[in-house]
């Protein structure tokens, strides 16, 4: 079998950021859901495994610090590094994304036989990226308010704290749902990728796949490359 040409899709820095993010997310989601569903067997089990409700809170806060660190790191990465900034520009939604998304839906429903021609980031990737950004931002803000409740209440009345708690609680569930059902489906359960896409480890994608999935990026960067090989 002919050896596939692999090209880099995610740099090492991006992979490290992704890894730290996923570690913090997993801990936050598990410890958070344990508190939300403390009456269920799941909550009881997790809280017991974590060594009690106080220890649960400490785990949650450690993971939160990791998340805040990644958020800051990522912020400086996309603002101050050349490559990071280029990547940021690619994630901005454009009018074409709505057309692509519509085309994608039509294709999935079998109404059209044509795939949308995508660049590096598909509409759902962009949406997920910004959802993670917005979600993390909201969770960090509400989380810090709850963490430093007494200090926050020097400024905020109690009912705002109550709202904060509701928002933090539900937003956490939504993030967990999106990651479990959408992101993990795309990278793990999707028949094309099952059992797992290795891209989060080595960051590499085959040129072949790139050509099919991200034709615009392919044309931009690697147009002549495989022709030369042939």
């Amino acid at each position: 079998m002919e050896e596939k040409i692999m090209v880099e899709r995610f740099t090492r820095s991006q992979r490290v950021q992704h890894f730290l993010l996923l570690v913090s997310f997993i801990i936050l989601i598990i410890t958070g859901l344990a508190l939300k569903f403390h009456n269920s067997w799941f909550g009881k089990l997790i809280i017991t495994l974590e060594g009690g409700v106080i220890a649960r809170g400490i785990f949650h806060r450690f993971a939160a610090i990791l998340l805040i660190f990644v958020a800051f790191y990522h912020f400086f990465y996309i603002i101050f590094t050349r490559y990071g900034h280029e990547e940021l520009l690619l994630t901005f939604p454009k009018f074409k994304d709505f057309k692509d998304a519509f085309q994608s839906v039509k294709f999935t429903l079998g109404l059209s036989t044509e795939h949308p021609r995508l660049d590096k980031y598909a509409p759902q990737h962009k949406f997920q990226y910004w959802a993670v950004v917005a979600g993390s931002f909201l969770m960090i803000i509400t989380g810090l308010i709850l963490w430093y409740q007494t200090q926050a209440m020097l400024v905020l009345p109690k009912w705002v704290i109550d709202i904060t708690r509701v928002v933090h609680s539900y937003q956490g569930v939504i993030i967990a749902v999106v990651i479990l059902l959408w992101h993990l489906y795309i990278v793990h359960l999707n028949p094309k990728r099952f059992p797992m896409s290795r891209i989060w480890i080595d960051g590499k994608i085959s040129l072949e796949e790139l050509k099919v999935e991200h034709p615009l990026e392919y044309e931009r960067k690697y147009q002549g490359l495989d022709n030369e090989k042939k």
């Binding site: 403390h38 409700v53 106080i54 079998g110 109690k158 709202i163 939504i174 999707n190």
Partner: protein
């Protein structure tokens, strides 16, 4: 001679068993005794009252076993366990809960030699022990605060004016809690004892016995929300899983000085909330009082919190639904593509 003595003894026994001999002195209201410390105590026994007590059929000497010699002085303290033990032939009730006394804070104090600690008769009375349904009884619900207050006078003074004290002693609401409803009867323990009904992790369960009791809630318009919402709050969850540094009911509402939240004396009166919360949250501001404390996001009374919580609930459900739908459609398409091998 022998015959005479035995006759006399029989006669004496008869005299004692019908209390005739004792009556001769002790039915005199002026009979007094001077104690070594100079205090004067009455030695009068009101036999009318005594014959109403649960021990009306017992003779004096059944308990005062060393009282058969006359005149006598410095009789021993009566030991109730002479009759009140399991399997006694006198038919004296002996319940397991009497034994709880020996493990209680009072029983252990006695065992350690604290002569001020109460024994049976300090709470139940000596000659005038009545069934607790009798309004004369020291252990009658309405009289319990006074009985305990004999020693715990400061707490009695605080309790007397509290919402519970007024309900019981002024309004004569007998289901209102007296001391024993929270602290137990014979098995009273220090609040620092994990087995105590008022140990910090047990307080909410103890209060819930009334404050989550559907019949009482109906009868006295008790708010049911606080118990439910406390269980779901950070405080309640943490307590449930054994945390010992979080608030229980009494941390905010006080243990004895409990008042309605509309009463300025209450620790949860709006102006007192910063100080009350500040016990655990140093620097708590007046903002702690801005908004409901026991809030249930699932109920309309929660106001804006309710609507935001509703919004998020439906948002979560629709996101889930949309994603499940997406996965089903996408899987169907991808599997079809794979089967037919065409894009």
């Amino acid at each position: 001679m022998f015959f005479f003595i035995s006759f006399l003894a029989q006669g004496l026994a008869q005299e004692f068993s019908s209390n005739q001999e004792c009556k001769r002195c002790h039915s005199n209201p002026n009979l007094k005794k001077i104690l070594p410390d100079g205090k004067v105590t009455s030695q009068y026994v009101d036999l009318d009252l005594f014959y109403r007590s649960v021990h009306k059929k017992q003779a004096c000497v059944y308990c005062h076993i060393d009282g058969t010699l006359s005149p006598h002085k410095n009789l021993q303290k009566v030991n109730c366990q002479r009759c009140h033990f399991k399997g006694n032939l006198a038919g004296a009730p002996s319940l397991d809960r009497y034994k709880e006394y020996s493990e209680s804070v009072h029983g252990r104090a006695i065992a350690l030699g604290n002569i001020k600690a109460p024994i049976c008769q300090d709470c139940h009375g000596s000659h005038y022990i009545f069934d607790k349904s009798d309004t004369l009884s020291r252990t009658n619900q309405e009289h319990i605060p006074q009985t305990c207050g004999t020693c715990h006078i400061n707490i009695y003074n605080v309790y007397k004016v509290s919402v519970h004290g007024e309900a019981l002693m002024k309004k004569h609401i007998l289901v209102a809690p007296s001391c024993v409803d929270c602290h137990g009867e014979h098995d009273i323990r220090e609040h620092t004892d994990p087995k105590s009904t008022v140990f910090l992790t047990k307080v909410s369960a103890t209060c819930s016995r009334c404050h989550a009791n559907k019949e009482l809630i109906k009868e006295f318009n008790i708010l049911a929300e606080p118990v439910e919402t406390y269980k779901e709050s950070f405080h309640g969850v943490a307590i449930k899983f054994g945390a010992k540094t979080v608030a229980n009911c009494a941390s905010c509402h006080e243990s004895h000085a409990i008042f309605k939240s509309t009463d300025p004396r209450s620790s949860v009166y709006v102006d007192n909330i910063p100080r009350t919360c500040g016990k655990c949250h140093p620097g708590a501001s007046q903002n702690f009082a801005k908004g409901k404390i026991h809030i249930n996001p699932a109920k309309k009374e929660a106001g804006i919190v309710y609507y935001i919580s509703r919004f998020f609930k439906y948002l979560t459900l629709s996101v889930m639904l949309a994603l499940v739908l997406y996965i089903i459609l996408d899987l169907r398409k991808k599997l079809k593509v794979r089967r037919t091998g065409e894009e």
